[in-house]
Amino acid sequence: MASVDIIDAAKSFGAVRVIKGVNIPIGDGEFVILVGPSGCGKSTLLRMIAGLEEISEGQIRIGSRVVNDVPPKERDIAMVFQNYALYPHMTVADNMAFSLKLKQAPKSEITAKVDRAAQILGLGPLLQRYPRQLSGGQRQRVAMGRAIVRDPQVFLFDEPLSNLDAKLRVQMRTEIKELHQRLKTTTIYVTHDQIEAMTMADRIVVMHDGIVEQMGVPLDLYDRPANLFVAGFIGSPAMNMIKGSIRNSSFETEKGNHLPLGNAPAASEGRRAIYGVRPEHIHLAGDGIPAEVVVVEPTGAETQVIVKAGGDELTCVFRERITAKPGETIRIAPELKVVHLFDADDGRRLSA
């Protein structure tokens, strides 16, 4: 086990700067998830940690060692690839034993480690099969088994669940989390799925376009997104965002309506801003803002309703069953404590 420190790391492919200087300290034994939209450079950063891409600028440390010029095989890491990258011509057992055989570990040790990993992952009966004879979930598990037998300092996962169906994905999520609790190995996990990130991570790093937008524990990102990007990325359905300005301790939208504010930030009178409120933080209220129902989508436990309030469309999620039909008017109110305000120019959170 080891800590990983990414210090001002940058990566260019030719003239294109893909990673634009990121700083991520990762503690020993931590489970950190890099999340961000497709193409933001998550895989590239992970591959830089693995040693599969050169580091153009900055430093990456594993433990106390700077690994910029250390080849992958000496970094003592294990990586699980998106397509699993199982060796097709080797059995499951040989796939898992490959790295140990290269290290010329004694046969008894190899067998013991492979058996232990197989037992942890429930792969016992499959050891003599070939990858092509396995289902997607089983392949996924073999790929993890191959990482486990190495007993490395750091586990790296690159979107390991994206090729599985929805149900299996939920199950594997739990398994990976349990595995981490059991082995306590530092883990860096890449995904584009914010729900995966929220449910699994000790800490989330939100990336966008080669930079780190925010780092923090999952609920922190949800409760206090540092900027518009994080606010829109974390949470589903996405946060409602309305342009306008702050006037007399309330928020005036561009269309001239007024939305309530708990306590407006100091010295912000007249400031142009963006009002953010999550769908689940809008409630029915007798004295609330009138809003016209556009679409009602019951999901059972909750009802998602899209309404038009003063020309702005809002998504709301109610615990109550909604009987209103499209075209009817309901009265809604945002929960004032959890209303977010962002600067209209640079998108940063206004301290409120």
Partner: protein, 297 residues
């Protein structure tokens, strides 16, 4: 896929129309073309065989004897070929030279193709292109400068003259074939092996080559066949009759002046093609898979 097709075919709505799977249709679309193909391909072998088995008087008299059949088969031509000439020796020489040239070429091609496809060194594409261009230079031009080199190296009239010159056309060919094959092996597997602790050579030996076996086999077959049938270099660089390869020896030793010993010639050609045919049929599955598809999973 096939299920769906069969279901469509089984639908009663299709009665009255000739179904895709009806016997006449199958005959017309599959068996007839296949039969033509087989006849065209096998006829030369048939011709070689009957010519081998015909006595001379029958061979030259197509008015009294139907030329497509053998009337009084004889092994006299075979006997003459095997016992009155050095044919077994030629066969052995050809085999040894073809195998040696093939092994040498595959070895060099594997390293070249791997380097060009995977190491991506500066200018690797240009090296690939240059190798391909080298392949385009016809042997009929190359054999003159090569002859000078062979003389200077003192290899004239030795099997090494051929073992070392055949790779000049085998390596470019095999390299190109293998570059294509290596490309089809996911690079991720190699990256994974790299993280698992393998060196480049270990990756090549334990991951890439085992997965490239079909490609290696088809490169091997090509190289072997090309060496086996090679004519110009074998004609130019070998003089002693006992060191000649089959294609050359058959022609130079069994055609004396204007006397074509057709029976023995054909026997020589027939026996000469047997090893290649065996080689092909043995590896045909790999061969087809390497030309049509690549590593799955």
């Amino acid at each position: 896929m096939t299920d769906a097709v069969q279901q469509v075919a089984a639908k009663p709505a299709r009665t009255g129309v000739i179904s895709w799977h009806s016997t006449p249709r199958r005959v017309a679309t599959i068996y007839l073309p296949l039969a033509c193909f087989v006849v065209v391909l096998l006829f030369p072998f048939y011709w070689m065989t009957i010519t081998t088995l015909k006595p001379n008087h029958e061979l030259y008299n197509y008015k009294d004897y139907n030329p497509f059949f053998v009337h009084s088969p004889t092994l006299v031509n075979v006997k003459k070929l095997l016992f009155d000439t050095e044919y077994p020796q030629w066969l052995f020489t050809t085999m040894s030279i073809a195998i040696a040239a093939t092994v040498l070429s595959i070895f060099a091609s594997v390293l070249a193709a791997y380097a060009i496809q995977r190491l991506r060194f500066r200018g690797s594409q240009w090296v690939g292109l240059a190798i391909y261009l080298a392949y385009l230079v016809p042997p009929s031009i190359l054999f003159i400068p090569l002859a000078t080199m062979v003389f200077k190296l003192g290899l004239y009239d030795s099997p090494f003259a051929l073992i070392l010159t055949y790779p000049t056309f085998l390596i470019p060919f095999c390299t190109w074939l293998l570059i294509g094959y290596f490309k089809s092996i996911p690079y991720e597997l190699e990256e994974c092996a790299m993280i698992d602790g393998a060196t480049r050579l270990q990756i090549l030996r334990k991951i890439t080559l085992p997965l490239a076996v079909p490609g290696l086999i088809s490169a091997g077959i090509f190289a072997f066949t090309l060496s086996w049938n090679e004519f110009i270099y074998a004609l130019a660089f070998i003089q002693s009759s006992e060191k000649k390869t089959v294609p050359v020896a058959v022609l130079t030793q069994l055609v004396q002046g204007d006397d074509y010993q057709w029976g023995a010639l054909m026997a020589g050609a027939l026996f000469g093609s047997i090893p290649v045919a065996l080689f092909y049929s043995f590896f045909v599955d790999y061969y087809v898979s390497s030309l049509t598809g690549a590593v799955k999973e």
